[in-house]
Amino acid sequence: MTISKQPVSQPNMNLGHADTFLVIENVVKAFQKPDGSQFIVLGGIDLTVGEQEYVSVIGHSGCGKSTLIRIVAGLEKPTSGLVTLEGKAIRKPGAERMMVFQGYALLPWLTVRENIRLAVDEVFKNASRAERIGIVNEHIEMVNLTAAADKYPHELSGGMKQRVGVARALATRPKLLLLDEPFGALDALTRPKLQQQVLDIWDNHRQAVMMITHDVDEAIFMSDRVVMMTNGPEATIGEVLDIPLPRPRDRHDLRESKEYYELRNHALDFLERYQ
């Protein structure tokens, strides 16, 4: 187990391909306060995510972790610093960095199928109609929503809504999947189920994932690395925790594992230091 005992600002480079895919370099985000002074949210973030790596960013609320993922999505611009995906600078939103939103962000006037179809139509403009329908159906099936495919969002439970959110994001075949507290609004019984489902999908289709969360168990259970942020203002990366637990992972087995508890305690100790 490789727990970096010293707080580091540089990410672990132990994954060979990590430095070539998503690179976040010295990203600073500041907002202008009404009195004209600067409020610095992020004070110099350096992070990389590998092409097939699942990385979680964890921190207390208000530490700027959502701001960070929004910068990667292109929905916000960094005040200084650079984010590159496969060497190309990120300046605006793009479908190769599709996001799953905390509040689902489903369009309420469209059915499950139509919500996913909207995204597929937009991203695969050159594909034939049959191909696009095929992609939509495949992803509805992937999240087990075939029976609810023609329902409207207001007829679905929170867990089902977020499955639509996940299916919509995956259907656009992004290079980097961004999950902004995707399970945050779900109840305690639905959450583990959906976590498992997303993890299973990822196990079958390894790709780069960046997930924001404030749940230590969720972060450790799902990720290859957990990035722990210090509290804002001027939040930075306090520590990066490698999670060498074997995959596929099973929640029940993990509960028996000593290694899991050591990682968990370490992460909790870190977060408590910044309370």
């Binding site: 509040g103 995204a119 937009e122």
Partner: protein, 279 residues
């Protein structure tokens, strides 16, 4: 045989019992009690002002001809209430549709563009509190004829609520929806058609429903002034003949028609937006 008979009696009893239970349910009973209260109040007032006011029963008897024959034609100026109602509805529909055609795009424009909002909002704020009837003389001066003037007044009436609500809807499209569109790299014009306008539809419909409600209020007043064929002129004409009974009938007819108009728009809203409408 006795068994069959007793079965039949039982069935009849249970059916009657069911009907009785239906009637005694609070959401049936209480509205009926409310109307009964209003009619009782009318009755009491009619007893004190016997020379002018008909009692509900007298009014019903006098109006029976109107109620049974809504579509009679007994001469150029003597038409059934149904014809008058249709004439009024026609004016309201034309004026209201023209109003919606202008108001929705204007609302979208000022919801999207701060410059347009700065230019148009003061006009709305100044004109909105003006009673639509004030526009009647101006309309008569322009058109020199009652019919287009009445429609013009309804048109003006229909504008304000629809513009304001549409603009509010467009300006308040949830940020999440727009961010989804942005992440999908949707061009601006497509975001407008596929996200902004569908997301604003509930607001637009709220505006339309308020506008239509006011339009239906105003048409009665307009027709009282312009004359011609219509439910408004009917009220004024009957009053001049001291037929207060007919005026009571008109109250119910106008009220029910307004209710149906609103209900129809609410239904349309449910169909168009795929979400249940709040009434």
């Amino acid at each position: 045989m006795t068994l069959l008979l007793s079965l039949a009696v039982n069935a009849k009893n249970s059916l009657l019992g069911q009907l009785r239970r239906q009637i005694f349910r609070p959401n049936v009973m209480l509205p009926m009690a409310g109307f009964a209260g209003v009619i009782a109040l009318w009755w009491v007032i009619a007893l004190f002002r016997q020379e002018m006011m008909p009692t509900p029963l007298e009014a019903l008897v006098k109006n029976l001809d109107f109620i049974i024959h809504p579509f009679y034609r007994r001469g150029p100026g003597d038409l059934g209430l149904g014809w008058l109602l249709l004439a009024s509805l026609r004016r309201v529909c034309i004026g209201f549709l023209l109003g919606a055609i202008v108001a929705i795009p204007v609302g979208v424009l000022i919801g999207l563009s701060h410059a347009a909002w700065l230019a148009i909002n003061p006009i709305i704020q100044v004109f909105k509190p003006v009673s639509p009837l004030v526009w009647l003389p101006i309309a008569l001066a322009i058109f020199n004829s009652a019919e287009p003037s009445a429609i013009f007044v309804i048109f003006i009436t229909s504008l304000w609520s629809t513009i304001i609500n549409t603009a509010e809807g467009v300006a308040n499209v949830p940020k999440d929806y727009l961010e989804v569109a942005e992440v999908l790299e949707m061009p601006r014009w497509k975001q407008l058609l596929k996200v902004v306008i569908p997301a604003s539809l509930p607001y637009i419909f709220t505006g339309l429903r308020i506008s239509l409600g006011i339009a239906w209020l105003v048409i009665v007043a307009v027709e009282m002034l312009t004359g011609g064929i219509g439910i408004g002129f009917f009220v004024w004409d009957e009053w001049n003949r001291l037929n207060v009974s007919s005026v009571f009938l008109a109250v119910f007819v106008i009220g029910l028609t307004g209710l149906i108009l609103d209900y129809a728009l609410a239904k349309l809203q449910t169909v168009v937006t795929h979400r249940p409408a709040r009434s």
